[in-house]
Symmetry: C2
Amino acid sequence: MHSNVNRQFRLARRPVGRVARTDFDFVEAPVPQAGPDEIVARVLYLSVDPTNRIWMSDRDQYMPPVEIGEVMRGAGLAQVVQSNLPGVAVGALVTGLTGWQDYAVGGTGENALMPLPAGLPIPLPAFLGTLGATGLTAYFGLVDVAKPQVGETVVVSAAAGAVGTVVGQIAKILGCRAVGIAGGPEKCRLLTEELGFDAAVDYKAPDWRESLARATPDGIDVDFENVGGEIMEAVLGRMNLNGRVVLCGLISGYNDGRPMTGPWDVVLMKRLRVQGFIILDYLPRFAEGGMQLAQWMMEGRLVHRDTVVDGLEKAPEALGMLFDGANTGKLVVRVADPPIPL
Amino acid sequence: MHSNVNRQFRLARRPVGRVARTDFDFVEAPVPQAGPDEIVARVLYLSVDPTNRIWMSDRDQYMPPVEIGEVMRGAGLAQVVQSNLPGVAVGALVTGLTGWQDYAVGGTGENALMPLPAGLPIPLPAFLGTLGATGLTAYFGLVDVAKPQVGETVVVSAAAGAVGTVVGQIAKILGCRAVGIAGGPEKCRLLTEELGFDAAVDYKAPDWRESLARATPDGIDVDFENVGGEIMEAVLGRMNLNGRVVLCGLISGYNDGRPMTGPWDVVLMKRLRVQGFIILDYLPRFAEGGMQLAQWMMEGRLVHRDTVVDGLEKAPEALGMLFDGANTGKLVVRVADPPIPL
């Protein structure tokens, strides 16, 4: 329903270590009105991503940090409730940086919210996950950056997470051996039994290094790196000559203010190519990637997984869940049901 | 003169920290005889390279370590004194892994010694330096790995060394801004006043970080990395988005048995491409690179620099000099004069 308050999480202070509820002010603001060439959209789902934690810090990063007092930055899926923007109708679904709030204003510049194709038989969270920035991250990171060849071994860390689940499935579609690293037998079972990974390594098991060796008998050609730290070092130790590292995330260090370090000698000795990768750089190719992902989904070759947390007020808690590995697949916060029938 | 002993440095133990004379046995062996399809060549110059230190250790590396008791591995320039190999005449100059000894046997397999073009008006050490593996390292690392564009800023560490002096000069030939990092005002003067670098940063000066910032007003597009550690981190901190790091060497860590680490977060945030690079991989293209380098030398656009240490017995000491930065340009050991007129 169309409420008359706009609840917002505003950044109250930069978190130290783990994100706490007290790092935010949860306030009520008036519902915004659309100006010329603007829309107002009701947020239905928020995308919860490791990068939210980066934006809250003032470390060197790829976008400006969220300022203290600003509405927390976050991607979301929303439905247009008011439109002064030609071509965007009330009722349409849009995605973009809605922020952690009930209502977002979309314009034509940097605050644009992009309309989604209508009528696809796809659950809404998939537009933030497998068909959203998450799936595009997996797609371009693997296809465009790593360029794996048929028969090569692809290892992905945080494999049961939003990006990881898609990376492994695409690796299989491309004819590679897909090995996932995840925490706990339940996640590992999901990877091999439901998502088609060839092998899964439980990094919480005491013999995980041996397990990684057994899972990669021909070494590793591509590391799709989401985690960093000790796990990354073990993977790099098994890389083949001329292997490629898609450096997509280093979540093991995001709660820690210190610089994230890793081994460089192995990069030299094995002639690895390490490529830092941020999906925003692929914005001009989102349509191309999205169409391929949608086709694979329609064909049943690519399965979407998500974990839904109910209620905008739970957003800070949901962000903490990522760092505990409490989710499988895409983690989203359900903020509202569509106020206008889809 | 043709001696009847073959002095050899054999590895006695793996060095701990800095290389010591006592890490080797200096022995006299009989001069070898050429078997079928073999040559015997008198070593004239040995190439002293940071990689010698890697080969002495048993850390993970790109070739097998030198075994204890084996003749120390090293590249050299030699003159053929006996030949059973069709097409290679007595008196010809050859290069390859001669080892640290007076006489080397060359065959047709992995122990091949490659004949050099005759009659070039080029001093012999240049065949190990600017026209040898050193110059080829600079050439392929910059041209093929980094692919700098006209107007981009290239920074090279250990800039007054064998590879660095050539990297900066090629960067200028390619139309880039060339900035060298070296130790001491004398080396910095060499770079800017004699080798045409646009700027030089003395890392021994207390204000070297400010000096690096002043020398790279438009940031850094290419880091040709030879050193690692603190200097590398400072360079990475000034890299532009989508910069490229040619990871050619990490000499700051070679005396230290520990893994060499570096920052990974900056690679991610700035979407850097870090490419480990070992010149051996370019063996099939040595002729192409060598011809280009020779042409630039003949045209006077590329200047060869070297530091010559006299006497095979000084080889261990010469290797230590590299780590003190005691050389400028290519460091070679002069073992003998050509026994047969060139």
